[in-house]
Amino acid sequence: MEFQDRRTIRLRVNGRDVERDVEARRLLADFLREDLGLVATRLGCEHGVCGACTVLVDGASVRSCLLLAVQADGAEVGTLEGLAEGGTMHPLQQAFWDHHALQCGFCTSGFLMTACDLLASNPDPGEDEIRHGLSGNLCRCTGYANIVDAVAAAAKAMR
C-alpha cells in the first residue's frame, strides 16, 4: 500500500519528549488526538480554515490539520493541555472565563493557542490588532466581542 510508509519521529509535546512510529500521511492533529490522547485539539474543518485545531509548533500557531506529524519531527509542540501550570489557569484561560469568551467551547482551544502566539509577538495589542490576529479562527457561538475583551485583559495581566 502506497500510504503505509512509516517513519519514526521524535519531538517535544507540552515539554515532554515523545518518540513514535507514525504513518507518513498521518495528520499532526490525528497524531496528537489519537496517538497521544491530547484531545483538546479539535477538528472543525480539516481544510485549514476554521482554526479549531491550532497548536503551537516552535512557538508559532499552526493548523494541525494542515501539517503531517512527520513535519513536526524535531519540533516543540504546544497544545491546550500544556497551557495551565498545575491547576492554575494561564492568564488567557482565566480571562476567557472572566469575560464569558466561550459558549460551546469547541473553538476555544484554537483561540487560546492563536492568542498565545499573538501575545507573544505583540504584548500590547489594540482592539483592531486583536480582531485581526484572531480573524483566522471561527467561532459560531460568541460573536467574538467577549473573546476580544478576554485577550485584551489577558495581555494586560501578562504585561
Binding site: 497544545t79 464569558h100 460551546c104 467551547g105 460573536g143
Partner: protein, 790 residues
C-alpha cells in the same frame, strides 16, 4: 447577618460553572469518547443532484486490508426501513406530503451529497481509502434546482409518485384583507429572497454506537440537541426496547437547530453496531456538513403592505415559497414558511393578514431548523415594507413603527392570527435603541458623510420572538412532540443538590443557569448545586433544546421540582424544631428563623435526618416535576444598525449595532448578553456573507469554508445591549425564551440600513446575503434606471 441581605442567585451575572473544564482541555465531545476498538465509518456520497443508480460494486473496497465491510441500500433492505415522517395536519392547510428518506440512497439519488454507500474500517484513513475504491455507475437525470422552476408544469419530479413538487400548501386569511387594500392610501410591494444558508456549528455532526450482545443494550453517543427523541427513534428503527437504548450527548460543540434532527447516518451507525458487535463511529467532515447536513432559511417572500395616510398599517399580504430540498427534516415535517408567515405581524397592530405558504421539493439538500427558523425572513419582509411605506408617505420610519406598535396597556394582545402576546415593551425597546444609537443626530452625520463621498445608513428592525411553544402548538405545526420539560432535583446527604435535566446544552450555559434556579429556590449556595444533563439513562424524559424553550420549559420544571423539595425540607425542619414552617427559611444551606436569621439546622443535617427516617419524611430525597408552558411565550426587541457601504467595492461594514430587548426575567444577564451577541453575529452572516450556492444542475458550488463564509472577528461589531424586563405573567419565574432573537433582527435591520445608505441612488435591497456583487448590482441598476429616466 440578616437573611434578607443574602444576594439573589437567580438573575445574577455570575461566571459560568461549566467553563473551567473546557478551558483546561477537559471537555469531551463525541469524537473524544474513550472506547477501544472503535471502527470508523465513511460514506460514498452522490456527486449528482439527480441520477439513477445503475450499479454499485463494493467488492474491491471490501477486500482491502483493515476494511470490515461495505454496505449499500440493497444490504439494508428488509432490515432498516427508510425514514418517513408521520402525517401531520398543519393548521389551516393540507396535510404535509410524506416521502421516504432512505438511509442509503436506493435506486435514485436526489441531491448532491446524499449517502449512497457506507464503508466500515479500522480507522477513518482506511475507510476513506476504501470509499475511493467503490465502483459505481450513475445515470444522470435532469435535476430541478430552483424552487420556482420546480413549480412549473412539466418540471422534473423529485418524488415521482407525487405528480408535482409540492410538500405542502397552507393558506390563511384573517380580517378584511381585500377591503383594506382597496381603501389604502398607500400600498407597497416587494419580492424578497434569502440565500440558502446553514447553522454551521464548529463541531460537525457525529455519533458513536456500542452494542452489548449479552445485555441487548445499545449505548449511543451523539452530538445532538435531543437525546431523548433520538433514543425513541433509534428504538423504533432498530426494533430495540427503549429501555435498552441509552443515548448520551456529551459536550456538544454548538447546534443552533441543526442538531435538533435525527439523521439517516445516526440510524445506520446504530444498525452497524448491532450487526457487527463492535463499537462504530462516524464523525462528519466539513465537506459532508456543507453538502449533506441540514440547510436552512431558503425562501422567496412576495409581501404587500397597505397603510393609511398617517402610516397606520391596514393589512399585510404575503405569498411565501420555501425550498425544502429533497426530503423533509426528520422526525417532523419542515414548517419553515409557516413560521415566516407567523412572524410577519411582529409587534404591530395588523387588523388584516393573509398568506399562502408553499413548501417545495427540489434536488438539493434538505432544509431543517436553524436559529429563528423562518422568523428572520418574515421580519425582513415586514420591516422593509414598513420602510418603503414610510418613504412613500414621507414619514419617519421610526415614527411609522411607533404608531403601529402594540402599547403596554394593550396586553394581553390578541393578534390577527389569534395568538395572544402576553406582555411586552415594544415602544420602550424602540425608543431606547434609537436613543442609544443617536438617531436624532444621525441625519446630519449622514449628510456630512455624503458630502465627503461616504454612504452611511441606519436601519431598524423590531420583532416579537415566538418562544417555547406548548404541546398543542407544536402539534398544530406538525411535530409529534410535547412542549413540556421535566427535571429532577435530588438532595444529597451532604446537603448538596443534583439537578437532572431532560434537555442538554450545546453551549447555552445550562449548568449555570439551572443551578442558579435550583440554588435560589432551595436556599443553597450556587457551588452546592450540580447540573447533570445529556444522558437518557439518568435524566428524566425531555424533548429538545430548540425553539427558545429551555429557560421557559426546563426553567419551569426546575423551579417547580426545587420548590416542592424546599417545601419538604421546611416541613421536616419544622417537625424537628417545632417551629411553624412559615417561620422558617433556607439561606446559604442553613435553615434559619425568618424573623431574626437565627440558625435552626444546616441542610446537610436535615438531609441526614430525613434519610435516616428521623424527620417524619419517608419519601425519596428528590422531586421530579413536569412543566407545561403556556401555548406561546413572546420576547420582543428592536435592533438598530448603522452601516457604511462602499459603492466602488460593494462592501458593507456594520459600524454600530444596538439591541434593546425584553426576555422577561433574566436567569443570568451574562448568558443572555452572550446569546444576543452570538445570535447577531449569525444574523450578520445571513445578511451579508453566507450562501450555499447551487448551479442550475443542482451542483453545490460552495462545498468548503473557502467558499462559504461565516463572519469572523473582523466582521462583527460589539453589540450594545439594553435590557427591559417585563416578566411573563404566565410562566413560572416570568421567563421568556430568547435563544434565537439575536439572529432574527439582523437581516431586516441591515437591509434597511443598506437601503438608507444607498438612498441617493434609490437602490432597494431585496435579496440577502447582500454580498459585494449584489450591492454593486443594486447601485448599477439604480444608476442606470436614473440615467434612463433622465
Amino acid at each position: 447577618m440578616s437573611a434578607g441581605a443574602t444576594a439573589k442567585i437567580l438573575g445574577a451575572r455570575v461566571r459560568r460553572v461549566e467553563d473551567p473544564r473546557v478551558l483546561l482541555g477537559e471537555a469531551r465531545y463525541v469524537d473524544d469518547v474513550p472506547l477501544r476498538g472503535v471502527l470508523s465509518v465513511a460514506f460514498l456520497r452522490s456527486s449528482y443532484a439527480r441520477a439513477r443508480i445503475a450499479s454499485i460494486d463494493g467488492s474491491a473496497a471490501r477486500s482491502m486490508p483493515g476494511v470490515t465491510g461495505v454496505w449499500t441500500a440493497e444490504d439494508l433492505a428488509g432490515s432498516l426501513a427508510p425514514l418517513r415522517v408521520e402525517h401531520a395536519q398543519a393548521a389551516g392547510g393540507g396535510p404535509f406530503r410524506t416521502c421516504e428518506w432512505p438511509v442509503l440512497a436506493s435506486g435514485t439519488v436526489r441531491f448532491v451529497g446524499e449517502a449512497v454507500a457506507a464503508v466500515v474500517a479500522d480507522d477513518r484513513y482506511l475507510a476513506e481509502d476504501a470509499v475511493e475504491r467503490i465502483d459505481f455507475d450513475f445515470d444522470p437525470l435532469e435535476a430541478v434546482a430552483d424552487m420556482e422552476a420546480a413549480l412549473a408544469p412539466g418540471a422534473p419530479l423529485v418524488h415521482d409518485e407525487w405528480g408535482d413538487n409540492v410538500f405542502q400548501r397552507v393558506a390563511m386569511s384573517n380580517g378584511d384583507v381585500a377591503g383594506a387594500f382597496r381603501g389604502a392610501a398607500v400600498v407597497v410591494a416587494e419580492r424578497f429572497a434569502t440565500g440558502r444558508h446553514l447553522a454551521l456549528p464548529i463541531e460537525t455532526r457525529g455519533c458513536v454506537a456500542s452494542f452489548e450482545r449479552g445485555s441487548g443494550e445499545l449505548t449511543f453517543w451523539s452530538s445532538t440537541q435531543m437525546p431523548h427523541v433520538l433514543r425513541s427513534e433509534l428504538s423504533r428503527a432498530l426494533a430495540l426496547p427503549e429501555s435498552r437504548v441509552r443515548v448520551i450527548a456529551p459536550d456538544v460543540g454548538g447546534g443552533f437547530g441543526l442538531k435538533a434532527h435525527v439523521f439517516p447516518e445516526e440510524i445506520l451507525v446504530g444498525w452497524l453496531a448491532l450487526r457487527l458487535g463492535r463499537p462504530v463511529k462516524w464523525i462528519e467532515d466539513r465537506r459532508e456538513h456543507l453538502a449533506a447536513s441540514m440547510h436552512a432559511k431558503h425562501e422567496i417572500v412576495r409581501g404587500e403592505l397597505a397603510a393609511a395616510r398617517d402610516g397606520t398599517i391596514l393589512a399585510i399580504r404575503a405569498s411565501i415559497l420555501c425550498d425544502v430540498g429533497a426530503y423533509t427534516e426528520y422526525p417532523w415535517p419542515t414548517f419553515e414558511p409557516n413560521v415566516t408567515a407567523g412572524a410577519m405581524t411582529g409587534p404591530y397592530r395588523v387588523p388584516a393578514f393573509a398568506y399562502e405558504a408553499t413548501s417545495i421539493a427540489t434536488n438539493k439538500a434538505s432544509l431543517g431548523a436553524y436559529r429563528g427558523v423562518g422568523q428572520p425572513i418574515g421580519v425582513l419582509a415586514t420591516e422593509r415594507l414598513i420602510d418603503l411605506a414610510a418613504a412613500k408617505l414621507g414619514l419617519d420610519p421610526a415614527d411609522c413603527r411607533r404608531r403601529n406598535m402594540i402599547r403596554g396597556d394593550e396586553h394581553p394582545y390578541r393578534t390577527v392570527l389569534g395568538t395572544e402576546i402576553e406582555s411586552g415593551s415594544h415602544v420602550e425597546c424602540l425608543d431606547a435603541a434609537l436613543e442609544r444609537i443617536g438617531y436624532a443626530g444621525f441625519r446630519s452625520e449622514q449628510a456630512k458623510a455624503r458630502e465627503a463621498g461616504r454612504y452611511v445608513g441606519i436601519g431598524i428592525a423590531s420583532y416579537v420572538e415566538v418562544t417555547a411553544p406548548g404541546s398543542a402548538v407544536w402539534q398544530s405545526m406538525g411535530p409529534a412532540v410535547g412542549g413540556w420539560e421535566s427535571a429532577t432535583v435530588r438532595l444529597e446527604l451532604d446537603g448538596n443538590a443534583t439537578v437532572l435535566l431532560g434537555v442538554n446544552s450545546q453551549g447555552q450555559g445550562h449548568a449555570t443557569t439551572f443551578a442558579q434556579a435550583a440554588a435560589e429556590t432551595l436556599g443553597l449556595r450556587l457551588a452546592d448545586v450540580r447540573v447533570v444533563q445529556g444522558d437518557t439513562a439518568i435524566t428524566p424524559r425531555g424533548w429538545v433544546a430548540g425553539g427558545s424553550r429551555c429557560a421557559v420549559a426546563c426553567g419551569g420544571a426546575v423551579l417547580s421540582a426545587s420548590g416542592r423539595l424546599r417545601d419538604r425540607l421546611l416541613a421536616a425542619a419544622s417537625r424537628l424544631s417545632e417551629l411553624p414552617t412559615g417561620a422558617l427559611e433556607i439561606q446559604g444551606g442553613i435553615v434559619r428563623r425568618a424573623a431574626d436569621g437565627g440558625e435552626v439546622v444546616p441542610v446537610r443535617e436535615l438531609a441526614r435526618a430525613m434519610a435516616l427516617g428521623r424527620a417524619g419524611d419517608d419519601g425519596p430525597l428528590e422531586e421530579t416535576a413536569r412543566y407545561e408552558p403556556p401555548p406561546l411565550t413572546h420576547s420582543n426587541a428592536t435592533h438598530v444598525v448603522t452601516v457604511e457601504v462602499d459603492v466602488e467595492t460593494g462592501q458593507v461594514k456594520c459600524l454600530r449595532y444596538v439591541v434593546a430587548e425584553d426576555c422577561g426575567t433574566m436567569m443570568n444577564p451574562l448568558v443572555v448578553d452572550g446569546q444576543i451577541q452570538g445570535g447577531v453575529a449569525q444574523g450578520i452572516g445571513a445578511a451579508l456573507y453566507e450562501e450555499l450556492v447551487y448551479d442550475e444542475n443542482g451542483q453545490l458550488l460552495t462545498g468548503t469554508l473557502m467558499d462559504y463564509l461565516p463572519p469572523t472577528s473582523s466582521d462583527v461589531p460589539r453589540v450594545e445591549i439594553i435590557h427591559f424586563e417585563t416578566p411573563s405573567p404566565y410562566t413560572l419565574g416570568g421567563f421568556k425564551g430568547m435563544g434565537e432573537g439575536g439572529a432574527i433582527g439582523p437581516p431586516g435591520a441591515i437591509a434597511n440600513a443598506v437601503a438608507d445608505a444607498l438612498a441617493p441612488f434609490g437602490a432597494r435591497p431585496t435579496e440577502i446575503p447582500l454580498t459585494p456583487e449584489r450591492v454593486l448590482a443594486l447601485v448599477d441598476r439604480a444608476r442606470s434606471m436614473r440615467e434612463g429616466g433622465e
